[in-house]
Assembly symmetry: C2
Homo-oligomer: 494 residues x 2
């Protein structure tokens, strides 16, 4: 269905142009020259798309799995990040040009210049050697690189008149760990169960780039599953998904294969039923969000790539014109989180599980929302006869229906306005009377409106309206009295 010569790279440009011209998102503070990079604002269509994506996440993950959702403060105390390890380890290696003072992220610079992959845990000394061996110098002025150091990516804030150290959270999940005990007790749960959270996180990236893909302030949706490590296979909830096929790329493989959860467990590609179940849930979620199966993969990370505390790690990635993009990090974090907070706070974090005292282990699904939205937009955008059609699933469409009088005169306008008013509080609807009807169809195809409702001559006679479908351009007549039910059914999550 893609017509015209649209190069892969241009798909990114196409999404960005649509985003800016139609109000999906835009750089923040753009009227000012001192606006720092890596901050973006969602416009009206972006807000609606994001809210619907979060609703889908809530329905298909949180509610489906009976998770508990919390919403914690974004500014947390210093001890939280001392315990989590962020104060010490949440750092990027950097170097400065001795001449023009440009600052570089060292590992990325080395990778760009040499093609050599720098492991997460490489030391500054390792990197200094690579810089010397390959004669890497400043890309701007050719100056020598100096001041090799680690830069902590958390944003510090001073609280109170005395300016007590606190930090903007670099991930939402810390609130889940520090609130774990109270939630466990007040909500009367047993292991295994999950706590979820959606909200902003903040990272002082050295080189933010590419729109929503690497931001300094961004939305995450994180899920932390608490479980008894001796019972990760005693997990009957997994039974209904055992035949579901995961898109796996295990360590050492260079292609993706469809493997049922059952086979992946039997061949020990996946360590436990619990992990298989949550990998299935997250893959199913992205299929519902409109990403074609064949563009999804669950790539296992080798030791070099994964965090030091992770015993098992899978990244859910989606293929785009910019390559595979990581959308969800799925990590078995073991005892790292509750253990760390237990040691520093002195607050015992164990719970009773069928008579056994357990320090719960954590399996995490850490999702980037903004980049998910980018991938959904890129996968939905089509050029047909040089016009954009945004083929979003109807339940993700920012605007669900455009109500259009066929002619911009009475009585069409009043009738259309009356119908619009009857719909607008229950649906995301828009009224538009300006321009030819064909031009208006195109205007709403471009932003993914799944149905246009036209009030025409026949409406005045028999109280039916013309409904036109975005993807097929098929038109049919619907009774005005049936419009609410028709729309509700059409935008329902399936």
């Amino acid at each position: 269905m893609v017509h015209g010569a649209m190069g892969e790279r241009s798909k990114y440009d196409l999404v960005m142009r649509l985003a800016l011209e139609r109000g999906f998102f835009m750089p923040s503070s753009e009227i000012y020259g001192d606006a720092p990079a890596g901050f973006w604002d969602y416009g009206p269509l972006g807000v609606a798309l994001k809210n619907k994506f979060i609703e889908l996440w809530r329905r298909e993950l949180v509610k489906r799995d009976d998770m508990l959702e919390i919403d914690g403060a974004q500014i947390l105390s210093k001890n939280v990040f001392r315990a989590s390890g962020h104060l010490e380890s949440f750092v990027d290696p950097i170097a400065k040009c001795g001449k023009c003072k440009a600052i570089y992220r060292l590992d990325k610079l080395i990778e760009e210049r040499t093609g050599i992959h720098v492991p997460e845990r490489a030391s500054l000394e390792d990197m200094r050697k690579l810089v010397e061996e390959h004669g890497i110098r400043c890309g701007r002025c050719g100056g020598e690189l100096t001041d090799f150091s680690h830069f902590n990516m958390m944003f510090r804030v001073g609280v109170g008149v005395a300016g007590l150290d606190a930090y903007l959270r670099p991930e939402t999940c810390q609130s889940i760990f520090i609130d774990f005990l109270r939630i466990y007790k007040t909500m009367r749960r047993k292991l295994p169960f999950a706590i979820a959270q959606v909200g902003k996180s903040f990272r002082n990236e050295i080189s933010p780039r590419q729109g929503l893909l690497r931001m300094r302030e961004f939305y995450q949706a994180e899920i932390e599953v608490f479980f008894n490590p001796r019972k990760a296979n005693d997990f009957p909830k997994a039974d209904p998904i055992l035949d579901y096929k995961l898109r796996l790329q295990p360590i050492g493989e260079d292609s993706v294969k469809d493997v049922s959860c059952r086979d992946a467990l039997e061949s020990r590609l996946i360590s436990s039923k619990l992990v298989a179940y949550y990998l299935a849930l997250i893959q199913q979620f992205y299929e519902k969000a409109g990403i074609p199966r064949e563009k999804i993969r669950l790539r296992e990370l080798d030791e070099d790539e994964r965090a030091f505390y992770a015993a098992e790690a899978w990244d859910l990635e989606v293929e785009t014109s910019l390559g595979w993009i990581e959308l969800v990090a799925c990590n078995n974090r073991g005892e790292h989180d509750l253990g760390g907070h237990e040691r520093l706070s002195g607050q015992e974090m164990t719970v009773l599980d069928d008579g056994e005292r357990v320090l719960p282990n954590v399996f995490e699904l850490s999702m980037g929302i903004d980049r998910s939205l980018y991938c959904i937009l890129e996968n939905s955008i089509y050029l047909v006869n040089n016009r954009i059609i945004l083929k979003l699933p109807p339940y993700l469409a920012p605007i669900q229906a455009a109500v259009l009088p066929l002619l911009s005169k009475e009585p069409f306008k009043s009738e259309a306005m009356r119908i619009y008013r009857s719909l607008k509080q229950d649906f995301d609807a828009v009224y538009d009377a300006s321009g030819s009807i064909g031009r208006r169809y195109a205007r709403y195809d471009e932003i993914g409106v799944p149905v246009d409702i036209t009030i025409d001559h026949q409406t005045l006679e028999d109280r039916t309206v013309t409904v036109r479908f975005r993807d097929s351009t098929i038109q049919l007549r619907v009774e005005e009295s049936d419009l609410m039910n028709f729309l509700r059914d059409h935008v329902k999550i399936r």
Copy 2:
């Protein structure tokens, strides 16, 4: 309906106890001793209540009035706050005890000790005189007050390796002003129209206090109406609300009177139809949110109380056990915002309005979400026979239905679980089999669940369930096949 001797003050305690024990909200980082005051986390019930409150706001204000909603970055550049005046003026007067170094917010300290109201615009010198005249000293050690100064309440963050000055927004609305032009153009609007935003704001309060009432990190829902100041009375949208009665307390009056919008306009209590219309909308919103009319007032602020740029200012306040609490500041901000950004950015902010070039004026409805939730909880909480019943409107209830097997054994449990599973993705439902049925009713009355669905002996025979209503305790039988429709109708916004 209130039984038992519940003092007014104890209502606050009752809400706080319920919040902590049942997971509405809790202090953030509470396991650590270094947790700064004024930060709170929402637990599962709090998240659900907040989301439903925001949905109501979206429906009854944003969609009803065809507003545009955006979601901007929380960290904004220094120039934004230079233009807005926050860098210079968003300050609180403070003083330090020369002996024990305790820090006081000066205006509040003077008011507490003397009962004298210190105007917003009082100088440090004015306050120093009051301190001397009344012999005010440190409340902790009796030491002399010193170091009179102004403290800026914005949280600074340093962006990038160089630590470029930026700030966490102290109000959400600045994004709306700096994005105004792009939104205006991309969304093809004409004056008057409104842009809305919901999100976090941050203020480094000197003395955060009283749970959700004065926080350092809090949720706002702000609406900025852009209009041509010469046309604030040329506003046909106001016609349908002219007979609606506002609860007004104008300047100089010490009681509230019911005045129709029409009468308020004729007697010039309110300056324009535009202002009357939005005051009506915001009052209607709180009535829908379950606050009784007689506990709402719109209090006009005199010159001493209102911001220097505000030509007209009304606070929507709600009466609680702690007195009247300000929930929404309704301000005519004139040209202050767009004018300020136009001057500093050099970006012309005027738009064409029927051929006339206009710098739009702004009427603002700035709502505090957290404190609104507190007021809703306090107004919904009842003690009946020494048990709490939380009489939330059904559409605000965090959990909409509890599904309960009459007996904790088969086949009741499986049947109840089956019904729970059929409901849980479309509703906020819970399944509970533990304890006597009476105890479970009480457990769910306490957190405001509007209906309990019991699976009993008759269910097994004729596929009907017992539905029990929280407020009336009336029970009736509903066909299982009709349960979805019944629930949908019961939790619908009315």
